[in-house]
Each structure stands twice: as structure tokens, then as C-alpha cells.
């Protein structure tokens, strides 16, 4: 496979680093929120923070699909798997997220629930075909990137007459989340989150198009640069954002031109729209109840809606007390400001979703960032 190292070239990175240093005004700070967990991951995995000046700060956003799913919905999935005798199919990242009383899907599996990790909705359909006498539920999570495959799976199931397949739909949308973060009043005792601009969603934008963020950029006067997931993408987007901020502009610019267009993937949008519709309101971990921020299955496809097929009991869902995931997802706190970080809460024993997912900010801090400075200082090798 070609074109991997090309996007991680150290020499180009140094050139961009120099351009960023020249552009950034040393007398001010730049708070740039990278929306996606994929960006957070790239920043840490490649050490991007080492290459930008100290006054350019990345604020980690809510773009981690596993992280923003509220505990209640996870508890519902656990209940489906444990009490309804279904085969629950899920993306692997979801398995270890703790629900109420630390109950995760992986624990439910150990208790005998039939939970299977899949790589795509097609795997879930295959399991449904192979087990005609069992109910198979796909635990659908994710932003606009994973929405079209869910829609396609439902259309396929209907075409094939797969009556034992249904979807527990938890898809959420990025533009309302951005609006909510900029707009939301801060919690009592919290400093308001300070964001000067956004590194905009990457793969999501390939589906919905960069124009989707124009209202947010215009209404909140915040620049947005659609940024790819490679470290050079992140650096170039950083430079573009700093330029906009310095020039007092606030428009959507597209750095990820090799993938993202203004309109996005019309066919994927049409498929999603055929099967899914807006929910009036949906709960996000961290952001609370956000209007028009999620999708549900249309009435015409109700027979494939797990929420309608199975009776789910109301529950008293609760997150771990003093877990700062909600504030971290809003960009108000850093993982290291959480009392549980690295003491009680580690990837081996996660208390909150941000420590579980490879796209979560806490996991990235812990995995790539912890105590790095000490070793580099000892070696005198800091960049």
C-alpha cells in the first residue's frame, strides 16, 4: 500500500512547524478544538504537540462515538443481551465501556450473554442469516460516517426478508454537537470553555460535506478547517486555523480536499435519509440533552427497530461518581485534571468511556502522553 509514509514525512512536518511558528502571534494563545478522536489520536501518536509552539493548544472534542453514548443506552444494550436471549452484535470498542455499576458488555458476555464483536454491519447480517431461529440485534453507534452502513443493512434485511434482524439505533450528528459546545452555558463552578476554532470532522465530512458546518462557523464566528486524520493534515489545518484567527475570519475551509467535497456523498445521504429520521432530542454523555442531534429508524422500517421489537425497562442509570468524562468531552477539563485519571482509572480498569475507546482523550493521554517529558528530559532529547 502506497501513500502512508508520504503523509507522515518528518521533513515536511518540520517545514509546517516553522510556518506555524512564524504565523502564530507569541502574545496570544490559540485554543483549537480537534473535534474527532481520530485527530486526538494522531496528535498523540505522532507527537504533533511537540512540533507546535507552546501557545497553540489542542482542546479535545467530543468526536469519539463510544464516549458520547450515554450510560442509559449502554445499560439498555446490556439488558437486551442478558435478558432477551438475543445475539447482540457490536463494534469492538463498545465492549469494555462500563455501564451502571461497572457493568460492561464484556462482563455481560462472561455472564453468558451472546455478544459478538463485528467489523461491519455486513458481519451482523451474516450472523442473522446463519441463525434464523435467534433474534440478532446490531448495536448501532457512531456519527455520520457509520450511519449509511446501518441504513444499508436495514434495507438489505428488508429485501431479504430477514425477520430476525433489528438495529438498536444510537447514531448521532456532528453539527448540533459543535453548536452545543459553543453555545452551552457552563456548569456551576466550571470556567466556560474557550475555543478559538475547530479542526472539523474528517471522515464524517466526506459523507455530509463541508458546507454542513457553514451555519456554525457563521453564527458563532468560529473558523472551522475540515482536517484529515494524518499528522501532516493536522499540522496544515492548524496553520490554516491560525491564519483565519489572526485575520479575524470565520469560515469553513477544507484542508482534506483529497476526500471531502462541499456537498459530500449524496448517495450515502439519500440512503440514510430513506431509513433514518431526526430525533427531537437525544442524550449525549457530557453534553446532556441536545435537540435534533440524533437519528432514529423511520416508522416505515419499524419492524427492524430493536427499541420497538423488544420491551426495554426504564432504569436508574448512573455514571461513576467523580468521573470527569462529561467535562472532558465538552473540552472544559483535561484528562489529567480528573482525580481518577491514572489512579483508579486506567485502560485496564476504565471508569469512564474516554479511557476505553482508542479515540477517547483519556486513553490517548494515558497511552501516549504519560510521563513522556521525564524520559525525554533525562535523555536531553526533547524536540
Amino acid at each position: 500500500m502506497k501513500y502512508i509514509r508520504e503523509f507522515r514525512d518528518g521533513n515536511l512536518a518540520q517545514k509546517l512547524a516553522k510556518a506555524i511558528r512564524q504565523e502564530a502571534d507569541p502574545d496570544r494563545r490559540y485554543h483549537l478544538m480537534e473535534f474527532c478522536g481520530g485527530h486526538t489520536h494522531a496528535i498523540f501518536r505522532y507527537g504533533v504537540q511537540d512540533l507546535v509552539p507552546e501557545n497553540v493548544e489542542y482542546v479535545h472534542g467530543p468526536g469519539c462515538p463510544v464516549c458520547v453514548l450515554p450510560v442509559r443506552r449502554l445499560d439498555d444494550a446490556v439488558e437486551l443481551a442478558l435478558t432477551q436471549n438475543v445475539i447482540l452484535t457490536t463494534y469492538g470498542d463498545m465492549m469494555r465501556v462500563p455501564g451502571t455499576k461497572q457493568k460492561s458488555l464484556i462482563r455481560a458476555k462472561a455472564e453468558g450473554a451472546d455478544i459478538r464483536m463485528v467489523y461491519s454491519t455486513q458481519d451482523a447480517l451474516k450472523i442473522a442469516r446463519e441463525n434464523p431461529d435467534r433474534q440478532v440485534v446490531f448495536f448501532a453507534i457512531g456519527f455520520e460516517t457509520t450511519t449509511p452502513p446501518t441504513a444499508v443493512a436495514i434495507l438489505q434485511a428488508r429485501a431479504e426478508g430477514l425477520r430476525n434482524f433489528s438495529v438498536f439505533c444510537n447514531h448521532v450528528l456532528t453539527p448540533p454537537a459543535i453548536a452545543h459546545i459553543v453555545n452551552a452555558p457552563s456548569e456551576p463552578g466550571e470556567d466556560p470553555v474557550r475555543i478559538d476554532g475547530f479542526l472539523g470532522p474528517s471522515h464524517v465530512s466526506s459523507v455530509i460535506g463541508w458546507a454542513s458546518y457553514e451555519p456554525a462557523a457563521r453564527d458563532f464566528r468560529k473558523p472551522v478547517v475540515i482536517a484529515g486524520f494524518e499528522p501532516l493534515d493536522v499540522m496544515q489545518s492548524t496553520l490554516m486555523l491560525i491564519r483565519q484567527i489572526n485575520e479575524g475570519r470565520h469560515v469553513v475551509e477544507n484542508q482534506y480536499t483529497r476526500v471531502v467535497t462541499k456537498e459530500g456523498n449524496r448517495k450515502a445521504q439519500a440512503l440514510a435519509a430513506e431509513v433514518l429520521e431526526l430525533r427531537k432530542v437525544f442524550e449525549w454523555r457530557g453534553l446532556g440533552y441536545v435537540p435534533d442531534s440524533a437519528l432514529r429508524i423511520r416508522e416505515a422500517f419499524a419492524e427492524f427497530d430493536a427499541e420497538k421489537r423488544f420491551a426495554l425497562s426504564p432504569k436508574e442509570s448512573r455514571e461513576v461518581k467523580s468521573c470527569e468524562c462529561p467535562a472532558i468531552l465538552r473540552g472544559v477539563k483535561k484528562p489529567t485534571e480528573c482525580k481518577l485519571f491514572g489512579t483508579v482509572c486506567t485502560p485496564d480498569n476504565p471508569m469512564g468511556a474516554c479511557m476505553v475507546s482508542s479515540e477517547g482523550a483519556c486513553a490517548a493521554y494515558w497511552t501516549y502522553g504519560r510521563k513522556r517529558e521525564a524520559v525525554l528530559a533525562a535523555k536531553g532529547a526533547a524536540a
Binding site: I4, G38, D50, M117, Y368, G369, R370, K371, V375
Partner: protein, 345 residues
């Protein structure tokens, strides 16, 4: 002699509960399948325990359980792997392996033809390594209670005089060497997994490393640490060494050899090659002054042609593994938690 009946059964039959029952079927399976292929004078003694002379020097012993899906994969199978696994564990102490034992847990219904293929592969691998399988055992479990075949091997080896290799022996200033590309085994296995199949020319690197180790020790008897980065990959092996020695490791990403196919597959699947399994590679930690000489010896052995110096041992009270990225930054290379999973977004 094997009767035509038995041969036909091996071609078309399957393991059933009688093969573990202690009766005639079990005896036949042992004689006509295991002993026929693994044949050697010690095994032929027919004891439950192998009897052999102890060589002078300190003995090394190790055991390794093997469960893998699929059982047959590009570049190997569970039979060869189960021999390589224990041979390599013994070799990583710096020892010369002498003999092996093997025990099999067979699942009812497993095709006898596949079992024979596995045993033949074990026999060939042991013969090539010059290390006989001198004792064994077989149990059968009901269908659904196993995954085809599980194989546990154990082995004994002898340590050359003056060799003291231990993961605790890493010290600041020493060099970290790697015998070749990482991730080949793990990616070759993944490429054949159900639901994940993808096209690749890549083969598992499964190989016995004791020959390479013997050459290295002959050249530099004072090697501090040897480790084969199997499950959990290079990252795990280095974290274990850091933990055992109380030092830190500083890696140079650019120096770590990764085959283009492995890099591509990992990119698509969202995996990090540093955490992907190897079955024919070793990490060596030695005095910096010996690094050049050792690299030369490694590169002149078929299993070490792409050997490289990938980093160094440093002072670090937190015993972390840190990597300077090719991109120009630095990051922690942490222990793996759970399994590596593809990203959703």
C-alpha cells in the same frame, strides 16, 4: 505397520471420544499417527516418561500452550508453531534446546486428516531443528468444548557456560537490536480470519531461533537480554524488559523495520504494528560497543538479514518505553490493554 484400514480412517475419519478413552482406538491413534511421524529412539522406548542422559551444565526448561485460529495459515500451522514456540523460549535464555514434549487436547469431530497434517508438520519442524519430541499425551473433549486442537509443548535445554541472559540485566547505555521486520505473523493470521479476509502475499515469520542465538552468543557471550516479541508484539516485549530491569527504553521509529504489506494492513485495520505478534523474531540488548559486531553476525544468518539497531536503554525511574517518531515528535509506547481494535470513525 499401519493397516490399510487405519490409513483410510485417517483420510476420512474424525476424532471421537474413544480416541481419548484409553482403549484400542487411543492406542492405535498414538502408534499409527503420533509415533509414526514423530519417531525417534527415546519416544520409541514406549515409556510414559522419556529417559535420557543429562548433559553437563545448567538446564533450562520452558512450556508454551498454543491456541490459534485458523490452525493452518500462510507460512505455518499450529504444529510447527508449537515446536517453534517452546524452542524459542529456551533459546531466549541463551540455551541450546535438547528435547521436547507435546500434549494435545483434541475436540470431538476434528478431522483425523487435519490432525495428521499437523503432526507431520510438527515432526518436520522438530527434525529440522534437531530437537526430538520425546514424550506426549492426548486427551479428547466433547464437541463444542475445544477449538479443534490445542497443543502444549514443553522443552529442556542446556546453557553454555558463562552465559547469563535475563530480562533484568538491561542497563542504561546498552543498545537495543531487533532481528527483522515486525508484525508479519499477526497480519498473516488476521488475513485468514473469518470476516476479515484480505489479499496479501505475507507469510507468518514462524521460525526456530536457536541457531541464530547460538551464532550470536558465540560472537558475544555477554549479551544481556534476549526476548522473542510474540503475543503483544515488540511493544510488550520492551515493556516487560523495562519493568524487569527498572530502566527505560528509547526507540527510534525510523529504525524499526516494517514490511510494506504489514504497514498497509495495519493502516486499514487501525492496528499498530508495534503490538502485532511475531513468531520468528528476537530483541537483543547488549553493550553499545558490541552492537556493531552482533548486527553483523545477525545479518549473516538467514533469520536476521534485516536486523537493525532500534534504540537504547536509558535511565528512567518510571521504566517507560518512549519512541521518537519519524514525524519528529515523541510518544509513550505503552502496555497493550485489552485487544487492539479497529476504529469506528
Amino acid at each position: 505397520m499401519t493397516s490399510m484400514d487405519t490409513q483410510t480412517r485417517f483420510r476420512t475419519g474424525a476424532v471421537d471420544m474413544t480416541h481419548g478413552g484409553g482403549g484400542r482406538a487411543m492406542t492405535e491413534l498414538i502408534k499409527d499417527l503420533f509415533h509414526r511421524h514423530l519417531k525417534n529412539p527415546i519416544l520409541d522406548q514406549g515409556h510414559d516418561a522419556a529417559v535420557f542422559d543429562a548433559p553437563p551444565g545448567r538446564l533450562v526448561m520452558s512450556t508454551d500452550a498454543h491456541v490459534i485460529s485458523p490452525l493452518f495459515f500462510p507460512g505455518g500451522d499450529i504444529g510447527a508453531l508449537s515446536v517453534h514456540g517452546t524452542l524459542n523460549d529456551i533459546a531466549m535464555a541463551g540455551a541450546k534446546p535438547l528435547s521436547l514434549t507435546a500434549s494435545f487436547i483434541l475436540e470431538e469431530g476434528f478431522p483425523l486428516a487435519d490432525l495428521e497434517r499437523i503432526v507431520m508438520s510438527m515432526a518436520r519442524t522438530a527434525r529440522e531443528a534437531g530437537v526430538p519430541v520425546v514424550s506426549g499425551d492426548t486427551k479428547v473433549v466433547e464437541k463444542g468444548k475445544g477449538d479443534g486442537v490445542f497443543i502444549t509443548t514443553a522443552g529442556v535445554g542446556v546453557l553454555p557456560e558463562g552465559v547469563t541472559i535475563s530480562p533484568a540485566a538491561a542497563k542504561p547505555g546498552q543498545a537495543v537490536l531487533l532481528s527483522g521486520t515486525i508484525g508479519d505473523h499477526g497480519v498473516a493470521i488476521l488475513s485468514k480470519r473469518e470476516n476479515l479476509e484480505f489479499e496479501t502475499e505475507l507469510r507468518s515469520d514462524s521460525a526456530a531461533l536457536h541457531g541464530l542465538v547460538a551464532d550470536m552468543i558465540a560472537a558475544v557471550p555477554g549479551i544481556a537480554v534476549l526476548r522473542d516479541p510474540t503475543r503483544g508484539g515488540l511493544a510488550t516485549a520492551l515493556n516487560e524488559i523495562a519493568h524487569a530491569s527498572g530502566a527505560g527504553v528509547l526507540l527510534q521509529e525510523e529504525a524499526i523495520p516494517v514490511a510494506p504489506d504489514v504497514e498497509g494492513a495495519c493502516e486499514l485495520l487501525g492496528l499498530d504494528p508495534l503490538y502485532v505478534a511475531n513468531e520468528g523474531k528476537l530483541v537483543c540488548i547488549c553493550e553499545a560497543a558490541d552492537a556493531g559486531r552482533l548486527l553483523e553476525v545477525m545479518r549473516s544468518h538467514p533469520l536476521g538479514r534485516q536486523a537493525a539497531r532500534i534504540g537504547e536503554i536509558v535511565e528512567d525511574p518510571d521504566h517507560m518505553v518512549i519512541m521518537q517518531t519519524a514525524f519528529g515528535g515523541a510518544r509513550v509506547v505503552d502496555w497493550l490493554s485489552g485487544e487492539q481494535l479497529p476504529r469506528i470513525c
